[in-house]
């Protein structure tokens, strides 16, 4: 009977090994995805047992953990909650960590990130209690405040970048919400607030600068079309373009008018520079058809369309449509049809032009610091791409200066400082009102800030309002805060 007993031994070994393998699979390979499952109460509870790191703006905490008197040990507190909500997000007992850095940098804030491994080891050896690391942000509180004031209680978004580094100086969406209402340990009230906010038509929890329903860029996209033209080598900013009052679009009975119903220059002709200055639809529609959809698409791609970026929150990729016929190409060239963008993408286009053609990787976290504010890790500015040459950038700067000095963007001008910019009025899917844009940078010769501002549904001035009279003055307020 010994042979079958030995064989049975192999069966025993196989049974135990299958369990060991399955346990290894669950506890090692599957662990991360199981831990990240929504509704994993262990992770949420564990998060409250350790002191979560603070989020700092200019040395002051905008999110911090305070001892609470209940079983959860710590409670999250936000200063100026609704101003910074799109940046911080929320840390909630019921809904976990999300909506911003609380979610995207959760592992650093709880101290469980792999990059903090050695520090954790030191803490274990020295017997320090587990503690999360703090985040120092790139946000400039003055600009953030000015951006929020510029939006007021209109729906919209502002994102401002340092064109030379990619640092995000301001990230504001309106309406916003107070994350303190989600961080509360009164779970019933939190559930109620959450349900209300998610059902609200004005979507206060959506960070409009990087996500949500993307916007049609309108005439701000003419910067991309201009870049494509200049990069092709066949155009300079003094090249002559046709600029009639209306342009018959091929293959349709439809014709495209200019906003003011007039031709863009004498003899129905204009230059590239002047076409941007007055935001000439007919000139750009024709230019787009002449360049062709491939050149437009490839220029957009170079600027970052279609790429998933993380700041470290995930940025929804902006899109340029494919398989266009001629009239669709014409409409896309002026930022209509199916072109959809995030305000961050538009701000990055201005920032690239401002930075001589070098596009910097946008980032929100300047430093990861420990509780003694010693820097653990700092972000080095990185060139993300080079979508345009320095020469193209100079030409575009010149054109954008003309927009502010003589064209549609006059109201963005700041006395004593040269501003460069571009307005945009975009008819969205809802035919009721337009989204109003301004993007630009200042000072033009030594840029400190590049921004994009969008006001949904015509801001508060209804259908007739144009970007120049609504978005441009709002942008001016932000520029003033930044350069003064």
């Amino acid at each position: 009977m010994n042979t079958p007993i030995r064989r049975l031994g192999f069966v025993v070994a196989a049974l135990f090994c299958s369990v060991l393998l399955a346990a290894s699979y669950i506890q090692v390979l599957q662990a991360k995805s199981l831990n990240n499952r929504p509704g994993n109460t262990r992770i949420i509870n564990a998060g409250y047992k350790i002191e979560r790191g603070s989020i700092l703006v200019d040395g002051k905490a905008i999110a911090t953990s305070r001892k609470s008197n209940d079983k959860y040990v710590y409670e999250r507190q936000y200063t100026n909650g609704s101003l910074y909500a799109p940046v911080t997000g929320y840390s909630s007992l019921v809904y976990g960590n999300g909506g911003g850095l609380e979610g995207a940098e959760n592992e650093v804030l709880t101290g469980t990130s792999d990059s903090l491994f050695y520090r954790r080891l030191v803490d274990v050896v020295t017997g320090k209690p587990k503690q999360g690391a703090n985040l120092e942000l790139t946000i400039n509180p003055k600009i953030q405040q000015a951006a929020a004031q510029a939006l007021g209680n209109r729906r919209g978004a502002v994102v401002a970048l340092d064109p030379k580094t990619g640092a995000v100086l301001a990230m504001v969406t309106s309406p916003s919400y107070d994350p303190n209402n989600l961080a509360s340990h009164d779970t019933e009230a939190v559930t109620k607030t959450w349900t209300q906010m998610n059902a609200a038509a004005n979507q206060p929890m959506v960070n409009r600068t990087i996500g949500g329903t993307l916007y049609p860029p309108g005439s701000t996209f003419k910067l991309v079309t201009s870049a494509a033209a200049l990069e092709s080598g066949n155009y300079s900013n003094s090249s002559t373009l046709p600029g009639p009052a209306t342009l018959r679009l091929p293959q349709t009975t439809h014709s495209l008018p200019n906003d003011d119903g007039r031709a863009c220059g004498p003899n129905d002709e204009t230059s590239l520079l002047h076409a941007l200055e007055v935001s000439c639809n007919t000139a750009y529609a024709q230019l787009g058809m002449d360049l062709g959809q491939d050149k437009l698409a490839s220029q957009a791609k170079k600027f970052g369309f279609g790429d998933v970026m993380r700041v470290p929150m995930r940025v929804t990729p902006s899109t340029f449509p494919t398989q266009l016929n001629e009239p669709q190409t014409a409409m896309s060239a002026i930022g209509q049809y199916d072109v959809r963008v995030t305000p961050l993408q538009i701000a990055m286009i201005s920032a690239t032009i401002a930075n001589g053609g070098n596009q910097m990787q946008p980032y929100l976290v300047k430093n990861v610091v420990d509780s003694d504010l010693d820097v653990i890790k700092s972000t080095d500015p990185k060139v993300r791409a080079k979508p345009i040459s320095g020469q193209t950038a100079d030409s575009l700067t010149e054109m954008m200066e003309a927009v502010v000095n003589n064209g549609t963007g006059k109201q963005a001008a700041v006395p004593g400082v040269q501003v460069a910019g571009k307005t945009g009025t975009a008819q969205g899917d809802t035919k009721n009102a337009a989204d109003l844009w301004f993007t630009g940078f200042a000072p033009a010769n030594d840029p400190k800030i590049a921004l994009a501002i969008v006001l949904e549904n015509g801001g508060d001035q209804g259908v007739e309002a144009l970007a120049g009279s609504v978005a441009a003055p709002a942008a001016r307020q932000i520029f003033e805060a930044a350069v003064r």
């Binding site: 009977m1 369990v19 060991l20 992770i43």
Partner: protein, 458 residues
């Protein structure tokens, strides 16, 4: 017997056992201290009491083994002690998490049952001085085993817990009779198969080059199969059913050395499972939960246990620092291993699974070394029953197979399980004592009449 497996040991090895026992007690005390330190930040006040209690219990058992089974296997007792002790610590830890104090907690009851179980095992060692005498009661054991197995189906005393009717209830005591039935039936199988193995293994025709047994020899396996099906159908207990049938097929194979029995057994088993799956919603739910533990609207028991295991990761949260109570009320019974997985991590449960493997491996070794056929089969059967039980419950937690309710040997809170598993240890110790006793005993004319001395060695 010339394979060097049985004569590698010389002497009684009682010193080894004592040393390992001391080690086991120390590990348990460390675990206990670690729970206290994690939860209150203080050394538990009663750690000395526990240490002395556990130490005395182990020492008494050790001394008994010295006296009545001095050549017994030296690893079994320490391994079982370690597992039992760790189980106690986890049950205590879950009591603390639930805010129960020591008097009303499950840990004290478990400690009491551990003492009773160890006492019972000691008594067994005293009572059964020669395991072969068990053969005299072959059919008594069979009858008792079957009766116990069927008891939960009776009205009044049978109890339905979580859809499984595997408990009996008399007064304040609830008892899982299948645990004890497991041992009685193993003794019966061993005894019966030793008698009939020649007929079962030698007679028969070949079919497609495969030796098939005669129809009338199919009787026993069909009977075992029907019994398992009855347990499955009437008690809704897939685990126990699988355990009994698997055990019977394994012992049949060992007794007859014919693989055809395994094939027949597997076919019957899977047929039974498939039919049960078609007929009972209970099984369909379990299978659905096995394939996707996160199915909305279903029990999230497995899902929570998986998240606990993942939360523990490789090294675990540390005892007292996880959330094992999130695994519902089974955190200290069916799911006790996921509580361990959460708090001592993959590294910890790997070590614990290896402890189970050691018990099974020692059991099989005892089977190989044993000189009589009955002892061989009994040791093999007992060892394999521990293995199957571990596989059914641990495989259920780790999603190798659908989850079925069975207790984890030595760990789960519950008296019947402890009693049964300590009895298995006592029986294995008894058989191993006989197996390892120097060969002088073989020439002893009073023992030499065994017809099972014929052992095939290849």
């Amino acid at each position: 017997m010339s394979l060097g497996l049985t004569r590698t040991t010389s002497g009684t090895k009682r010193g080894t056992e004592l040393f390992l026992l001391g080690f086991a007690v120390v590990v348990v005390l460390f675990a206990y201290a670690s729970v206290g330190l994690a939860i209150d930040g203080t050394m538990p006040a009663d750690i000395m009491t526990l240490g002395i209690g556990l130490g005395v219990l182990a020492l008494v058992f050790h001394l008994v083994v010295r006296i009545v089974a001095s050549y017994a296997d030296p690893v079994l007792l320490p391994t079982a002690t370690l597992l039992n002790g760790l189980g106690l610590v986890m049950i205590h830890r879950i009591d603390v998490a639930r805010g129960r104090d020591i008097m009303e907690g499950a840990a004290l009851r478990q400690l009491m049952w551990s003492t009773i179980a160890v006492g019972a095992a000691i008594t067994l060692l005293f009572l059964i001085r020669d395991h072969r005498k068990l053969r005299r009661y072959t059919f008594t054991f069979a009858a008792a085993g079957l009766a116990l197995l069927m008891m939960p189906m009776l009205p009044f005393i049978g109890m339905n817990i979580n859809g499984n009717r595997i408990w009996i209830h008399i007064g304040p005591l609830s008892f899982q009779p299948s645990e004890v039935a497991k041992i009685l039936l193993t003794i019966f199988f061993a005894s019966y198969l030793v008698q009939t193995r020649d007929a079962l293994s030698l007679v028969g025709k070949r079919f497609l080059g495969f030796p098939l047994p005669r129809a009338r020899d199919m009787g026993p396996i069909m009977f075992a199969w029907l019994m398992s099906l009855a347990v499955l159908v009437f008690e809704k207990d897939l685990g126990t059913s699988l355990l009994f049938f698997g055990l019977f097929v394994a012992m049949l194979y060992v007794a007859t050395e014919r693989r055809s029995w395994v094939a027949i057994g597997l076919i019957l088993f899977f047929t039974g499972c498939y039919v049960a799956y078609l007929l009972f919603a209970n099984f369909q739910n379990r299978v659905a939960l096995w394939l996707d533990p996160f199915t909305p609207g279903q029990s999230d028991q497995v899902a929570r246990s998986l998240m606990g295991l993942a939360f523990g990761g490789i090294t675990g949260t540390g005892l007292g620092r996880g959330y094992p109570t999130f695994n519902y009320s089974e955190a200290n019974s069916d799911f006790i291993m996921s509580s361990f997985g959460e708090e001592i991590g993959l590294a910890g449960i790997m070590a614990m699974i290896v402890l189970f493997a050691i018990i099974v491996e020692r059991g099989l070794r005892i089977g190989i070394a044993c000189r009589d056929g009955f002892g061989k089969l009994l040791a093999t059967g007992l060892a394999f029953s521990v293995c199957l039980q571990c596989f059914v419950v641990l495989g259920g937690i780790t999603r190798v197979i659908p989850l079925t309710g069975l207790t984890t040997p030595f760990l789960s809170a519950g008296g019947s399980s402890l009693l049964a598993n300590w009895a298995i240890i006592a029986l294995l110790l008894r058989i191993s004592d006989q197996a390892r006793r120097p060969s002088v005993a073989e020439t002893d004319p009073t023992r030499g009449s065994d017809d099972t001395q014929v052992v095939k060695v290849r």
